[in-house]
């Protein structure tokens, strides 16, 4: 056992990815064995349509977690971004055809960016704790959104939205393509740019980063801006998939996104964690949800299974972490 642990450690951060892929394969095999018809095409494509929303929100949570913070406003930021886009499209572009789509995307992204930027400015320059700032932002957005929609849905988007929500390119669902592009972009930002490097360092020891010449404030603003843009993208994707926006949609994703980050090995105190294990961890969660669904279990039981799964993984991980100390 000990030598196995040591060998695993030698893999370093690649080990995290290997472990997550192992978990994914195990859960696929498990449900393949117990859920009838699991390997049939429709199951996988339904997963590929559902995963991206949660996935984008988890990415939006991941970047702040690496910086030693948290963004509790991800779901409502996505809602509001979708809402603003929906309002605009309904008011001016209902008959504009495909043009409505890039406009909606631009509005969604800029709205998410603005929300994230505001959080970043407050965290960086006021020095308030990110949990408090983003919690405040979440409640603010929720109140505004419910006021603007009177608690109802905004629906009736042009048909072109459905092609994004349900379309496929070469058999791959468009939302999945969007998600994979976002994963690649985030992985590149975090792992292959000086800005990403700085985010890990700020998350690890802000004072040491400052003394090393890293602009900690600018880095934090960037962190929450990127996070905000990802929520904007998620908002548009949700709008396209449901052809409507309701404030509060995806509310239950919030804690799942945080847990998915920790599941993938992100350090709760910042400074450590990789994007690819997160993407794989999310796929495992989706496999579990779809597998349970296929077996006729209720949605709620699937949520319970996620919880059990997360606890299990944490328990298995514990000895590896101890080795690292």
């Amino acid at each position: 056992m000990r030598t196995l642990l040591q060998q695993f450690r030698r893999l370093g951060s690649a080990g995290e990815l290997v472990a997550m892929v192992g978990v994914l394969v195990a859960s696929i095999l498990l449900f393949g064995a117990i859920a009838p018809g699991f390997y049939a095409g429709p199951v996988f494509s339904s997963m590929a349509f559902q995963l991206p929303e949660l996935g984008l929100l988890a990415l939006a949570m991941f970047v702040p977690i690496i910086s030693g913070g948290l963004n509790l406003s991800v779901t409502y930021s996505a809602n509001i971004s979708g809402l603003l886009a929906a309002f605009f499209v309904k008011a001016f572009l209902v008959h504009a055809g495909w043009v409505s789509l890039p406009v909606a995307l631009a509005i969604g992204l800029s709205s998410g960016l603005a929300i994230g930027f505001a959080i970043g400015i407050i965290v960086a320059y006021v020095g308030a704790h990110p949990i408090l700032v983003s919690l405040g932002m979440m409640i603010l957005l929720r109140g505004l959104g419910e006021w603007a929609t009177r608690g109802g849905d905004i629906s009736g988007m042009p048909d072109v939205f459905a092609t994004i929500g349900y379309g496929t390119v070469l058999g791959v669902p468009v939302p999945m393509i969007v998600f994979l592009i976002a994963v690649a972009a985030t992985a590149y930002l975090m792992g292959r740019t000086k800005e990403g490097f700085a985010i890990y360092m700020v998350g690890s020891t802000p004072a040491a980063a400052e003394y090393s010449g890293i602009d900690v404030k600018k880095t934090l603003v960037l962190v929450y801006s990127v996070s905000g843009m990802l929520t904007g993208l998620a908002g548009i994707l949700m709008l396209a998939r449901f052809n409507s926006v309701r404030v509060g949609h995806g509310d239950s994703y919030l804690l799942i996104t945080i847990l998915a980050c920790f599941l993938a090995g992100a350090n709760p105190f910042g400074g450590f964690g990789k994007v690819l294990p997160l993407a794989v961890a999310l796929m495992s969660l989706q496999v579990i949800a779809s597998g349970m669904n296929l077996m006729g279990a209720s949605q709620h039981l699937a949520t319970a299974a996620w919880g059990a799964f997360l606890i299990l993984i944490m328990a298995i991980r514990a000895p590896f972490l101890r080795q690292n100390k």
Binding site: R192, K194, Y200, G271
Partner: protein, 503 residues
């Protein structure tokens, strides 16, 4: 209790054939260690020589390899000690981190152990606190028992830790680098207390890298190297140089720096003032020069360094680099202008302790590493890191390991590497040898001398008079935020410098 109430030669501990193996490493190799009752015994050696392992074997943390023997006083020898037995025999260890509770009051920190054993003894806390007060009075310590510990400085916390172990019967106290972060006055106070404890018949084992104070406080000194005992020597007749040689196993040449004529001015300060920190500081630093900057803690020397590094903005005065005035809005501007600062606080500010050696080396040169494209590749980071590991002869088995897996001296080389990678004109070294053992110290100054030969200008901040005296071309003494003396080390003896600093 007075000195001489017991015969001085009585043995407190006789340890024999103590060995301990971790994997392939023999951390302790057939060690014999004697401790007399009431003696102050120093344990010295380079990092990784086995001092901590020996302490842990005696205090019951580690079980030694079978065959060891420990004899306490006249009791029959035992082959190993459990933590409970160690406690019952009054063996205590005060580790460098002190293991205190920042949010508890001083009083509760002192009486903490009593409540660990009997958690429901809360009704007795008044009695316990009174005893804590008596302990403090006996030692001549005055601290507010109700004050939260976190308001105390490291020196006072040290005293709290000592009072804490004195709440139960103490026969042997191990102190792990207790003076590492204390000022001279604080060190003197602590050494006084150590003497008081020894006068009560408590044996003190004192671990320190500061060889001067080692010889000052102890009666005998045991030197360890590579898991073995080199020897135990009386402090009388021993000197620092000899100790250093015993610890490292090689000879040190008397390494006073050769004075070289300075080159062109590179950094000039002109009436620099940060209110409340320092006033009207002016000096000129030349290429290839080492300027020693010293003074007591609070004299404003670190604050001055922060201002030169752009971390604080002066209210008045000018900083000139190569003759041109510069405005430093942040340390990024300072780095851009060729100024680098090795912080005195390597643990919290100098390095990202849990991050890899690779990342710690690359952090200051991210822009160069990722230009002209936006791509910051792991290959370029590795190349940079490998280059500096080679140039500074850093002992690294794998650069992707966390930097805190290295010894103090090698960590300091990583700090040097990350700053040298910025190709500075001026390198500020703030207490560069804190927590660095004697062999590594010599290596660091070897590197520094090479740098000055290439034309780099160095500001060396230290409160160790011998370091400043041996390695500076010029010495400035600061006091209350002003430069009070401008000296040439060649003109004076080290002792005179020490007297001037403390005057």
């Amino acid at each position: 209790m007075s000195v001489g109430a017991f015969p001085m030669t009585q043995m407190a501990l006789r340890a024999r054939a103590v060995s301990k193996r971790f994997g392939n490493v023999l951390a302790l190799d057939d060690v014999a260690f004697d401790l007399e009752r009431g003696e102050v015994h120093c344990l010295v050696g380079e990092n990784g020589c086995g001092k901590s392992t020996l302490i842990k074997a005696i205090s019951g943390v580690y079980v030694p390899t079978p065959g060891a023997s420990f004899q306490f006083g006249d009791d029959p020898p035992v082959s190993k000690i459990s933590p409970a037995e160690a406690k019952a025999r009054g063996i205590h260890v005060i580790w460098q981190d002190l293991s205190l509770f920042p949010d508890l009051s001083v009083g509760y920190n002192i009486i903490f152990d009593a409540f660990v054993e009997r958690p429901f003894a809360l009704s007795e806390r008044k009695v316990a606190l009174q005893r804590a007060r008596r302990t403090m009075e006996d030692l001549g310590v005055s601290l507010d028992l109700d004050m939260p510990l976190r308001h105390l400085g490291i020196a006072q916390r040290q005293l709290v830790a000592i009072c804490r172990v004195l709440q139960t019967e103490a026969s042997i106290i191990f102190m792990d680098e207790p003076t590492a972060s204390l000022t001279r006055t604080e060190t003197e106070n602590l050494l006084d207390i150590v003497r008081k404890l020894s006068a009560r018949g408590i044996s003190i084992v004192f671990v320190s890298h500061r060889l001067g104070e080692v010889l000052e406080v102890c009666s005998r000194v045991t030197v360890m190297r590579d898991g073995r005992i080199v020897g135990t020597f009386p402090a009388e007749g021993m000197n620092q140089k000899r100790l250093a040689e015993l610890m490292t196993g090689h000879e040190f040449l008397d390494s006073r720096r050769e004075w070289t004529s300075p080159g062109a001015p590179v950094l000039q300060l002109d009436g620099l003032t940060v209110p409340g920190q320092f006033q009207d500081v002016s000096f000129t630093l030349h290429r290839g020069e080492i300027l020693g900057l010293t003074g007591l803690l609070g004299s404003g020397r670190t604050e001055l360094a922060h201002a030169i590094f752009g971390m604080t903005r002066p209210e008045s005065g000018r900083i000139l680099i190569d003759g041109a005035p510069v405005s430093l809005r942040s340390n990024r501007d300072a780095i851009e202008n060729g100024i680098a600062y090795v912080s005195e606080d390597r643990l919290n500010l100098g390095l990202h302790q849990t991050q890899s050696i690779l990342k710690n080396t690359a952090i200051t040169t991210l822009r160069e590493l990722s230009s002209p494209s936006f791509y910051l590749g792991p290959e370029s980071i590795r190349t940079l890191c490998t280059e500096w590991i080679g140039r500074l002869r850093t002992k690294v088995s794998d650069p992707s390991l966390p930097v805190n897996s290295l010894s103090g001296g090698n960590q300091q080389r990583v700090v040097l590497a990350k700053w040298l990678a910025t190709r500075p004109k001026v390198l500020i070294l703030d207490s560069p040898t804190v927590g660095v053992d004697v062999g590594a110290k010599a290596e660091i100054f070897r590197i520094v001398n090479e740098l000055t030969a290439e034309g780099m200008a160095i500001i060396l901040i230290s409160d160790e008079a011998n370091e400043i005296h041996a390695h500076s071309d010029r010495i400035l003494i600061m006091r209350n935020g002003r430069i009070t003396k401008d000296l040439q080390p060649g003109d004076m003896a080290e002792e005179d410098l020490e007297a001037l600093i403390n005057a």
